[in-house]
């Protein structure tokens, strides 16, 4: 039973589950560090997934699909920026609205433009190609994890590492962190925090769009209504638990992805589907509880008060 859980294709499915959450969570983390509390990731992802299918179907090219997905994510990010940064709307309320718009718009356009409801599947949807790396491919176990994955798998890992280095080494990275941690200090340098936040939101839009593309045109090549199915929220939890730091985020999201793909395989043992579908949410809730409890204890210890 254990062996069947951890066969090589397990490694493959881990990455399939992980990449969308990882890309979205990285976008959320960048916003979080820049001081934008963005919980509209779910809405960003679903628009990205829809636009990817749309572009790939109409232009017969996966790269146009990827481009459209990014454009869709950026469109949502621009809406967020307009209503949160420029018009100073509350980020939580703007997020709730954008999640509704993301769900509504993708379903609406699915019926209005593609003329189907529920699922859109067509041979014309070109998928993102997988990349095979010659030597690594033949390694046992790790080979399947490190090679033959979709382009976005490699991109997401590199993006996380790049983001880590960028925050640590580059001046712009420092500014983007400062926008969240010490906005007035940043202003005194003559840099607008809002501009940094706008930049962070745009990057988040791109990343979430790609997350959507990974869902819809990477392995399957179809769009389903409400396809993101809570992954955006799991990404939000990953951001909160990791505090927006890229490397812990990477580890955490792989953990969630592992549980997610485990839940698929446990279905083979005859557990009811609903129990296995809960697992990713329970795992993220558990991680959140552990980290929150540690923070709470620290607060109690340092401040000596027990309110809320």
């Amino acid at each position: 039973m254990i062996a069947s859980l951890f066969d090589p294709s397990f490694a493959e499915s881990i990455s399939r589950m992980t990449v969308p959450i990882l890309l979205a969570a990285l976008g959320g983390a960048i916003c979080q560090r820049a001081g934008v509390f963005n919980i509209a990731l779910e809405g960003f992802i679903i628009i990205g997934a829809f636009m990817a299918v749309l572009g790939s179907y109409f232009f017969g090219s996966a790269s146009v699909g990827l481009f459209c997905a990014m454009a869709g994510g950026v469109f949502m990010a621009l809406l967020f920026a307009e209503f949160h940064l420029r018009r100073a709307g509350d980020p939580i309320i703007v997020s709730i609205a954008l999640n509704l718009i993301g769900f509504g718009l993708s379903t609406y356009l699915l019926r209005a433009i593609l003329g189907v409801s529920g699922v859109f599947q067509h041979d014309g949807i070109k998928k993102i190609s997988n990349i095979h790396i010659p030597l690594i491919e033949s390694l046992p176990y790790v080979g399947k994890l490190l090679s033959g994955q979709s382009l976005l798998f490699y991109f997401s890992i590199i993006a996380v590492l790049f983001c880590h280095a960028f925050y640590a080494k580059h001046r712009l990275g420092l500014w983007m962190r400062a926008a969240g941690e010490n906005a007035s200090g940043l202003t005194s340098l003559g840099v607008s925090p809002k501009r940094m936040q706008f930049f962070a939101l745009t990057v988040c839009g791109v990343l979430c769009g790609l997350a959507g593309a990974q869902l819809s045109i990477s392995n399957v090549g179809l769009f389903v209504e409400n396809m993101s199915a809570g992954r955006g929220w799991i990404a939000v939890v990953a951001v909160l638990v990791s505090g927006g730091r890229p490397l812990p985020l990477l580890g955490l999201v792989f953990l969630f992805g592992g549980v997610d793909s485990m839940s698929l395989r446990v279905q083979g043992f005859g557990w009811p589907q609903q129990f296995t579908e809960i697992l990713p949410y329970l795992a993220s809730l558990l991680a959140l509880i552990i980290v929150s409890y540690k923070r709470l204890r620290k607060d109690w210890a340092t401040k000596g008060i027990k309110i809320t």
Binding site: G89, I92, V94, I96, A97, L100, A112, Y281, S292
Partner: protein, 353 residues
């Protein structure tokens, strides 16, 4: 209360006008994308929101509005008490499932059965909300994410129960058996409108009294304004927090019970999630800036929007999700309008961590 001046009023009016123009523009673009006939769609919209033979559509709008207003009350109580409870969906589903179970298997019939089923649903909803509150108080989990994450287990648990132990296998659908007719909410004589909306109005009056006329409601609101101040004033803030959430959850549970007993007469998988009752309720409470009495007209407005959109789908082939999109756009404008300050009546700014 700030003084009204001609200048301020005209400022508001222009702001509203511009928002309306944007919403109108967005709907025109959406209709154009769906390749719909404008006049025909508008006609279909108003007919199925308010008209129909013997006003049948108007009655279904009212019935939908009752559920939305209920969920708006649930959100409003929590928001005013300082808790961004966006897990109304989970509380609604758990409440609906519990009341269906009570109605089917407790063996109590008639009016007493209705009361028992409603109370069971309310208790279940309250437990689900208090769970999030307990996680906030003793484990430090932010209420926003805590309530939201409990939506998914609620959805899957309900789905499991109607697919396996409680399933009406003969019907071939993921749903429970039909509830005994003696426990259906009676219809208003001569119409097809069930009395669920009267129950909701009753709850609404109680909520108004609670918000404006009771010490408990005042304490809850004070905790919402500033939890530190409430603690310093010696209020039992843990107890108040949990009470606020319990009330919020029990209203959501009541809405679930009404949907089961009055509308569907059984629990069908996804019947409370797909119409987005909980999210529409949250949006309704936000639309009126958490002003208790105003959720009734706002709830009717959004219910009419959804009913009208459903009609446009039937008649003019415009997907009904246009209602969800417009709802989101309206809330974007409300959240960002200079005149609205939801924080004024609602949750103190919760840090994201």
């Amino acid at each position: 209360m700030r003084k009204l001046s001609i200048k301020r009023i005209s400022l508001h009016a222009t702001g509203w006008l511009i928002s309306f123009l944007w919403v109108g523009l967005a709907s025109a673009v959406l209709l154009f994308l769906a390749d719909a006939d404008f006049i025909n769609s508008l006609h279909a919209f108003f007919k199925s929101a308010f008209g129909g033979r013997k006003f049948a559509y108007l009655l279904s709008t009212i019935s939908r509005a009752a559920l939305i207003i209920g969920m708006a009350m649930s959100a409003l109580i929590a928001f005013r008490g300082g808790f961004f409870n966006i897990g109304g969906e989970g509380q609604l589903v758990v409440g609906g499932l519990a009341s269906a179970t009570a109605a089917l298997y407790f063996g109590i019939m008639g009016p007493l059965g209705i009361i028992v089923a409603c109370l069971t649903g309310m208790a279940a909803g309250a437990v689900w909300a208090v769970l999030a509150g307990a996680m906030r108080i003793w484990l430090g989990v932010p209420i926003l994410v805590g309530t939201l994450l409990l939506n998914y287990p609620a959805r899957f648990i309900a789905s499991y129960f109607v697919n396996h132990p409680l399933r009406d296998i003969a019907s071939g659908m993921p749903q429970t058996h039909l509830i005994d007719k003696s426990m259906w909410l009676p219809l208003i004589p001569g119409t097809r409108l069930d009395t669920g909306f009267i129950l909701i109005l009753g709850a609404f009056v109680l909520v108004l009294i609670y918000c404006h006329r009771t010490v408990a409601g005042y304490q809850a609101r004070m905790t919402g304004y500033s939890i530190n101040f409430a603690a310093a004033a010696g209020l039992p803030i843990h107890q108040i927090s949990l009470r606020t959430l319990a009330i919020s959850g029990s209203i959501a549970g009541l809405v679930g019970a009404i949907a089961v007993l009055g509308l569907h007469h059984r629990f069908v998988d996804g019947m409370l999630v797909q119409p987005l009752y909980a999210w529409t309720g949250i949006v309704t409470a936000l639309l009126v800036n958490l002003l208790p009495w105003a959720i009734v007209p706002a709830g009717l407005f959004f219910a009419a929007l959804h009913s009208g959109a459903a009609g446009m789908e039937r008649i003019a082939d415009v997907p009904k999700e246009i209602a969800v999109i417009l709802q989101g756009i309206i809330i974007l404008f409300v959240a960002s309008s200079k005149t609205a300050d939801i924080r004024q009546n609602g949750p103190a700014k919760e840090k994201s961590e």
